[in-house]
Amino acid sequence: MAVREGEPIISVRGLKTAFGDQVVHEQLDLDVRAGEILGVVGGSGTGKSVLMRAIIGLKTPVEGEITVFGEPMIGRDEEDAKNIRRRWGVLFQGAALFSTLTVAENVQVPIREYFPGISQQLLDEIAAYKISMSGLPANAGNKYPAELSGGMKKRAGVARALALDPDLLFLDEPTAGLDPIGAAGFDELIGELRDALGLTVFLITHDLDTLYAICDRVAVLADRKVIAVGTIPELLALDHPWIRDYFKGPRGRAAAAVSEREGAGA
């Protein structure tokens, strides 16, 4: 099951997805390397979330191949797919916490599902350190999702995504709707977790600060495919109009300036 050195952890080839007649992706190729944080950007409606849903198996593609951990994902039966799904965690846009369960119970759901024998005490301990690892305050464990702020919900979502110690983490716009301080804290959290747990992160974002702060490479979605993948300087060298507007617009310049300042200060 292990991915051999140098092989991509996710590999998408010739992907085509569509809703009825409306084609979202066509001939889309993308590789995610083990251990990297890959940022996925693109205008609204270019199918960033759809791409994530296709990779995690929530949207069946019309054609194309998707391999995760070296295993083909399309057309697999549920039992096989379950064993692969266990190795990734997903944070949805709205965190998608189960509203009738407390945060701790939310974190325990995947563990109970896959490892039913674990004692309640150990489950509680695991939930406690996962919650604390995700940067939630100590009193958050027994709260219901409705009692949490937006930022705390996202952190609780990360705690649940990390429940099974995944190798791969999917994040769908994790910093959307957070204040700049919360967003910066979240970026830091993702970077820290990647370093400590050796995660590979597939990160959909609109947040230029996130791209500059933690992403190793950035994939740009436009015209139904990935038009470019690379580090931000590499992308800028391409001189594609959309990429130029994206990174060189007023917001892009501001984020770049911050990242340069921090780079100089460090």
Binding site: S99, T100, T102, A104, I111, Y114, F115, G117, I118, S119, L122, D124, E125, I126, A127, A128, Y129, K130, I131, S132, M133, L136, A138, N139, A140, G141, N142, A146, L162, L164, D165, D195, A196, L197, G198
Partner: protein, 368 residues
């Protein structure tokens, strides 16, 4: 890949624990049980033979360090980082809610339910007041009357309900006639089946069944519509623009239900009588002409007045319960469901209570 924690590797040093294989969640259960038996204060934990470790493994090792002051040897850099990371996350996090004693729970629930009932009643009264005020506004400024909205609600509450209410009443009419005929046959009084159907349908069943159906169809729809509008901040947007939700949303719904209920109630009563008539014709050989004649003789005009007085009252109650609950929605989508259910339950409950009150009232004023 085994994960057996070897508790006593050598006889000369009983304080050394050597962990082997994969310290991962897969083996967490067994590891946890075996490590729970560990005692002693000056342990040395040897990690040199550990092949893989995830955060659960790291947590178990961290617990040995924390609870038994164990010293770690043979850990790789990666494993050390992981254990440190987990150790940093070891904070007293509250995981569960303390369950209260059963007596407290019971008393608490009773108290909560009473307060809830009281505040709902007061709220409904306040809501009725607000509705009256906005009706006053509309009368003073007739331009604010939203004709289109009201007509659209006529369509939703009245016209669309015709099929289901008609079918239901027709079938209930047949059932009443059939059951009545079976009982009355014992006294040789089958012919009074007509009285039974006619009076029951015109006085009670028509309007009551209609009220229940309208509560289920329209009361719930009102609560769900207004509830999701509230969640979507549409109602707040309306207020900021200067449109009163009472006038724009609640009034058309209440007005439409108020006007449609008598029509639907009368229609339901007639169809129930028709259903009974069909049964009488087939089963009791009572021709439709005789049946209609008998019906005209046995139903007093006051029965119709009763229906026509009760129906609009019920309509207002149902529409108000629906709109009131819809506007109470706060927080999340789950609440819309809860409020919708409450709206229907409240509407039907109030209708039946009022119906009992009406029954006593009409008897007291001497209507047969």
């Amino acid at each position: 890949m085994s994960a057996t924690p070897d508790l006593n590797p050598s006889e000369d040093d009983p304080d050394v624990i050597r962990l082997e294989g994969a310290l991962t969640m897969v083996h967490a259960r067994r590891l946890d049980e075996e490590l729970a038996a560990v005692t002693g204060d000056h342990l040395t934990v040897d990690l040199s033979r550990v092949e893989r470790m995830d955060t659960v493994g790291a947590w178990l090792v961290h617990k040995l360090v924390r609870d038994h002051g164990a010293k770690l040897v043979g850990a790789t850099e990666e494993q050390k980082t992981l254990i440190e990371h987990v150790a940093r996350a070891d904070k007293p996090v509250t995981v569960r809610r303390e369950p209260e004693p059963l007596v407290y729970q019971f008393v608490g629930q009773v108290g909560e339910a009473s307060m809830m009932a009281l505040s709902t009643l007061v709220g409904l009264l306040g809501f009725f007041g607000a509705l009256c005020i906005s009706i006053g506004h509309i009368f003073r400024h007739p331009r604010r009357f939203r004709f289109n909205a009201v007509v659209q609600q006529f369509d939703m509450v009245g016209v669309h309900a015709l099929g289901i209410i008609g079918l239901m009443s027709f079938l209930v009419g047949i059932v009443i006639a059939q059951q009545g005929a079976v009982q009355l046959r014992q006294f040789g009084a089958e012919v009074y089946t007509v009285n039974l159907i006619g009076r029951a349908a015109m006085r009670e069943l028509g309007v009551l069944m209609t009220a229940i159906m309208v509560a289920g169809r329209s009361g719930s729809a009102f609560a769900a519509q207004l509830g999701s509008m509230k969640l979507n901040e549409e109602i707040d947007a309306m207020r900021t623009i200067g449109v009163s939700p009472m006038e724009a949303l609640v009034f058309p719904r209440v007005a439409a239900t108020l006007l449609m209920m008598p029509l639907l109630g009368f229609y339901a009563a007639i169809l129930a009588i028709a259903g009974g008539g069909l049964f009488c014709w087939i089963s009791l050989d009572l021709t439709p002409i005789t049946f209609v004649q008998r019906v005209r003789e046995v139903i007093p005009m006051t029965d119709l007045w009763q229906t026509l007085i009760k129906a609009p009252t019920f309509g207002v109650i149902i529409a108000m319960a629906g709109c009131f609950q819809g506007l109470l929605v706060e927080g999340n989508a789950e609440e819309v469901g809860i409020r919708t259910t409450t709206a229907v339950v409240q509407g039907i409950f109030l209708v039946i209570v009022l119906d009992a009150f009406f029954a006593v009232f009409f008897t007291q004023i001497g209507w047969p």
